[in-house]
Symmetry: D3
Subunit: 276 residues, 6 copies
């Protein structure tokens, strides 16, 4: 997977670096940057060689601006990773996303790779094959916040020339565990490859790309992202028998089965577990 002989970039920032996906990139991007700046609001463990740790909440504007100094490329994974109260979504994903882009503009960052999500388009039916130009159809407030950052990044490219690759990630887990993931699964290695292609491609402008592995079943037509040269190596098909054996068939008319967003499309209004 390594297609460089010396680090291509001086300093890459990864937000949300303490999460599962952040951990994957913390390994796989090592050869690509002289310094990896890792950000999370949770502690990031031992500081390894060539790492810089920066613990802060993305809702903290000043901290984000300080962190962004000297950064060349950003991989933005941070923020609330699933449905939550509007206030949490507003602070972490919406204001947080704005802080990332505005800080990037002021710091002269060249490119942001953004972890968008299937939930930005989760209300399309599974039987609809959509491409990157299909109008957004979020399935949750979380999904609405993903469309917010996608549109914000478009604005920052059109007006300020900051490039972005918005990756609409399906289900990035060690392996697919339900029938829907036979279509949406993205392996960790393929996720790494996609991020590396997004970093290394000479000119990306503003692109939206779907993030799934080489699963035989898919909702998505990734043709418009062909220039990235992303070629997944893994496939959910290897787990199909296992998944079929361990999960029920489901009612084809149930929203969680019908829609691309799965359970997110079926859930009612989010009730805060702390207050409910």
């Amino acid at each position: 997977m390594t297609d460089i002989t010396q680090p291509a970039f001086k300093n890459i920032l990864i937000t949300g670096a303490a999460g599962a996906l952040g951990n994957v990139l913390r390994e796989s991007l090592r050869p690509y940057a002289a310094t990896l700046t890792l950000n999370d609001r949770e502690p990031l463990g031992e500081v390894r060689e060539n790492e810089r740790h920066f613990v802060c909440d993305l809702a903290d504007r000043d901290a984000v601006f300080e962190m962004m100094r000297g950064i060349e490329m950003v991989i933005h994974l941070g923020g609330a990773p699933r449905e939550n109260t509007f206030q949490v979504i507003l602070d972490s994903n919406i204001a947080g996303g704005y802080h990332i882009y505005e800080a990037a503009r002021q710091a002269g960052v060249k490119r942001v790779i953004y972890a968008s999500s299937v939930h930005a388009i989760g209300f399309y039916e599974c039987t609809q094959t959509i491409d990157a130009a299909a109008p957004q159809r979020p399935d949750s407030l979380y999904g609405v916040s993903k469309t917010f950052v996608e549109n914000l990044s478009r604005y920052y490219f059109d007006k300020f020339g900051i490039e972005s690759v918005c990756m609409r990630i399906g289900s990035c887990f060690p392996k697919p565990v339900d029938r829907r993931m036979l279509a949406t699964w993205l392996s960790y290695d393929d996720f790494s490859q996609l991020c590396i292609r997004a970093l290394m491609t000479p000119s990306v402008g503003h692109m939206i790309v779907y993030g799934n592995s080489d699963n035989s079943a898919s909702f998505w037509d990734n043709t418009q992202a062909a220039y990235l040269g992303y070629r997944p190596k893994d496939s959910a098909d290897a787990y199909r028998a296992e998944v079929y054996a361990s999960t029920p068939a489901g009612d084809p008319r149930h929203p969680a089965v019908r829609f691309q967003g799965g359970q997110f499309a079926a859930d009612g209004h989010y009730e805060d577990p702390q207050t409910a």
Copy 2:
């Protein structure tokens, strides 16, 4: 313009009712509602017959929820009407928009007519004719907030069945005053007509419609909104000689001339006049 013999609705809420557009609807919607609930954070003057006034900031969640009780249809014009600091946009347009929709859901409102804007797609070139399915390309943080509410309204329809008509208003003023407005002008009467059509059409689902008068020049293909039956009666053409005589030609390569959003697309990052 009146196509009813008795009020079609019991209670229509108009937000932003103290502004120019709010004033227009305060008159023209009178025959359509037994009660017009008028909202603004500014005083709304004398309470006329069949009016109910409700002064509050849309960022005030509880007030919005209280105001929404008993409402059947909403015309949502409120919020910051042009570029501003991110904090103002966040409070007034983003949180404010969410409060409107979530309160509408809980109050059983049937339909929201939302004043979106050309600035949701302001980075298309004037020479591109776009329709409602073209991906959003906001020209400002204000424009990004307009795309936020458009996508939020899509979510509330897909999940909860609350219908919305998002009107992407061009330039709604007494008359066109620059060359770009020869394409984007929306007269007050046509604006009223568009709102009335959006209220009266039997089923609207979730629609996006461009709001301009019958100007011979246009950036927009409104075909996908044909079912609304909106037919503008006014035209910026009547003002063309006047506009040509009083305004310069402009450089075709300048962003304010090239892009549909006009000056919004040309402006740099917003500097708060109070702090600058």
Copy 3:
């Protein structure tokens, strides 16, 4: 409306000539044909000058073949005009349609104008603006039979060169009587104009055209039929106040309100009134 000085055609056949639409054409096509052959399975009244009456059921293959001799152009309005048992649809519309086309082929007929219907695409939502290339979505067995003849006519053009204009007629009545007809209404005069344009246009190949008047509300984009030069003169808008006053608003989620086919899309499986 007459754009000829002497009859353009020797012999035009009108099927279904005893019905309301047949009666309209019986008058308006008089100047266009030296002989008008009128067909129905019901009696057609007094034989007027230049008329030839031919009473037969379209399910009677031999009769149709005999009737077709010497015919130059066909206006095919015949068959069951609304939902019915499958057997009636099969005999009158499917077998009847085949008899018309196969007899036309053997008789050397140049062109068939076919009265298709909104019910060929009645399961599109009213908020969807569709053109002639949208895949068919019939709302009834009647509608399925309309798609059958549309496809049959495509086959007869591709293989045998017999031209067809398939007119997807909305609601052709003296005036619109419900809110849906504010979009779908086709006046008798506009219906006549459409038939005359379909007859007189030099080359039509195989075309599908929507048949509605100049109603401000519409589900249909008739751009692909522009070459016919059909320009409706009437509009349902003239009846809007009357319709609004006399009919209820309806629930936007009810199939009869949501779908282009109206009540046809809402009806369950057809129960034969004679056997039910």
Copy 4:
């Protein structure tokens, strides 16, 4: 190919089960159903374990209704397999198709897999790459009947929720035997896989999918059926040298060479061999 550990379905009906394709599925679907109900109007040979044989003509409505009781999924291969007189097409394919769907509705069948055909779109040129949304262009009365059942199945899904996968099968034979089949060939194994994918996919709604093997040459863009996850394993390419050596080049302007339907598109009106 087997992706289940115990039969996924209680009772699958296969119509046309005595034909070549029926025989293929009789083997390959064995692990997927507790009972395989096999239907044909010809005898079906020895009744093997877990098989139920039901010999009847699909034109016999009452027999079809009786047969359908207790069925969960239908694979509908029955009817006239090539061009024939209109009466045969009408009885076997059109009325037969209706009987299948109406019986399925009354019996509570969940899904029908329908063997449609290249001849539903056989009048596209070979150089046109079409997808599932391209308007139908049948090349024969047989092809017209295929479009009839495709549209009928759309109706039964839109109104009654019965799911369908319409497989437009190219040339399903042991091996390709002419140059056109280098593009249209579907191997028996790939046919089986396609049927199994159509059965096992959680939600299919109403889909149209092209059925060909992994041939390097193709007329079809199957992107819109990506969610099925069909991945052919065989390829006509393995037979290319053999086919080139044994068949002539053909005139590129001859209809049988130009059109996707091949010889069907070139044949004139069908003459009944018994009466000719």
Copy 5:
């Protein structure tokens, strides 16, 4: 039609100014330029006030370069006006077109209005409604040369920023004289209006626009040129009865009737009348 109070431009060059269309613009553009530079290889008659005459062949590179000095806008009508030998097309239209654009580049011209033609897309069928993005399909060497200049102008915009409006003119004559012109006719007044709109629109980039009057029949979807604000005032419909009375119906399968280019699409290889 005049929408200016003083000349908008200093010096407009009209090539082909001695032809019928040149004569039209010589009048109608008078108020728009302080100086009208008129070019033809034929004499241009008396030099009227504010006119500058420049007689040269467009194949004469040096003359074109000299003529272009000081020009602000170009209306390029010159070159062979119909099918001719390849050598004439090559010299007058292809080399001539290049001389115009390269001289314009070197002279700092802002915009070129180019008289392209229906013959650039003349091999589309009349029943196909095409827009400006449809691939070119020329019907003659003349038509191929029109596509050459269209593509050349695209290159000069993309690389050098010289704006162009390519007007695909249908049939610009005093009145329509055959049935095809009922669709393609462009009145002289509408031609003038189109040129004025192309001159006065603030930013045109590179546009292709169809040039026909408000004829009810049309082959063309001019939506993509909406920003120009061209609204034809005349219509071929006024001449329909006259044209029908004086011209035969034609065979719908004849190339001159079937194709948009009319007789150009029907003509065989051009034989030079002088050598034939």
Copy 6:
């Protein structure tokens, strides 16, 4: 690669046969023709078995006509291979291209395979994935001449039935040597395969196909050429590490990095090295 047992064609003409691509085909097409006629204006070396050499300039009309006698298929690689003065482009590519097609018409040639180029569409951005129907956007006079022959070939097919495959070749070299070629590279073997598929496919009509190897990165959607059955075997990916190590990253906003045409899109007006 050989899919024939005896030569499929009597006499194939290859123009530009002394160039690198000509040399490739001189070998690989040997089994496909009883005679290979090789043309160039440079000497072609020793005449090998079954070869016929014909040295002439394509601008020499009479020579081209003489050369074309008895030819069945043409592979047209000749003409100026990169940007040059307009006069050279005019003579070699434009007039030369016309001579090839007109001679082919008069000689009864069946099909021309034309070496078009990425430079016919070189002003699309690398991030845009285009297909064969995208409007041409040449990046140079050379590119404009490529669009000229593409359109000329369309004309010769539409009017005279001469089939053409226009191959838009990316970068056909022994191996990719810069980062852009990771997307555009076409190996010599894949180039041969593409030409053979274009020769052997039964009916090609008029097709445009992109010519690149199986590179993971691509600007092009070749779906519309699927019927040719071209399946590249090589990939630029094998050279990625080498290319990344030996070439700089480039500025994503520089025209040579942003646009598909690379350096051609960045170069200014061509200055003749002889006169500069």
